[in-house]
Symmetry: C2
Subunit: 192 residues, 2 copies
């Protein structure tokens, strides 16, 4: 069972402003920087490494508010499961999006039995997954901006949690371009 996180935050650790907006993410740093093969900052290679995505209701609603066309849908054919204890049906979405309410560990066990080997969660649901000791690896892309307040990626934990195999990089730019000033950190989580 392996759950990964791939998410962007501000340098002070927020995934969105208080109102849920992420516009700042698209204007932070140097959006016009030529990153060559890294233009998507690792998103496509990451998506290719997973075959199921689990997200919280708020994350889904944020994506829905973008009113993406099927062509703009960023998750390809990846199976997507939206966690909600309040929704009874999902807004119209392109692709394979399912609703789930219930025990997270049961869901993950079922996914494992169905042959899924790698899952990813996006949004504040991550905090719950960390406290269930279900996140094994995190890729955090830090945008070069301080927001001061907003929706934090991390929240309270039941105990101190050790991180391992940490690495960090900025994205290389072409000779003609400056870097975009985003930093990407990768680490494993050790709950022992």
């Amino acid at each position: 069972m392996k759950c990964s996180v791939f998410i962007a935050t501000s340098a002070d650790g927020f995934i969105a402003k208080k109102d849920g907006s992420v516009d700042w993410l698209h204007t932070a740093g140097k959006p016009d920087a030529d990153l060559g093969d890294d233009a998507d900052m690792g998103f496509k290679p990451f998506m290719a490494s997973i075959d199921c995505m689990i997200m919280g209701r708020k994350c889904m609603e944020m994506i829905h508010s973008m009113q993406l066309t099927e062509q703009q849908w960023p998750y390809g054919d990846t199976r997507i499961i939206v966690l909600s204890n309040t929704l009874t049906q999902l807004p119209a979405f392109p692709g394979k999006v399912e609703l789930y309410s219930g025990d997270i560990k049961v869901l993950l066990k079922n996914l494992e039995n169905q042959g899924h080997t790698h899952y990813v969660d996006g949004g504040t649901t991550i905090q719950g997954f960390i406290n269930l000791e279900l996140i094994n690896q995190m890729t955090i892309t830090r945008a070069p901006i301080l927001l001061g307040e907003g929706i934090a990626l991390f929240g309270k934990t039941k105990k101190d949690i050790r991180l391992e195999k940490c690495s960090a990089k900025r994205f290389k730019c072409s000779a003609k371009s400056l870097a975009n000033d985003f930093i990407q950190e990768v680490f494993s989580v050790n709950y022992d």
Copy 2:
């Protein structure tokens, strides 16, 4: 006028636990890793690049609680100014430690006139300095641990603040040793 920050945080952005303790900083990651010339994670080269240090009262009290001997004093002969509007005298300290209460911009102007060209601030006072647009460069060393709660490095800002010239690295280790899993980020602050 150039003010720099050189500080360690947890991966979730805390500089200390709620009670002010920083014990976790000394046990996070792999404290026994052989980092060679980077054993102090850049502290000495950084201190050599500055000639005056400004810190808040809480930061000074935390250092005082360590009951360091003159031999253990980490700041050498660097001039240290402690900001406090409540203290009238400082606890006994080795080295050159001064107390200041009053306007920060006046202090910095005086320091500049005295020939100081580079200052550093440690502790939560950083938040006030950022809102006065006085921090130009930050080096943040992220310990591989999630604390869940504590005293945050960053706080509310008057506006979004852009970061530039961002870089990140993990510390190289010798062939015989694993990395210590700390990550160091450096960036400039642009208040425009």
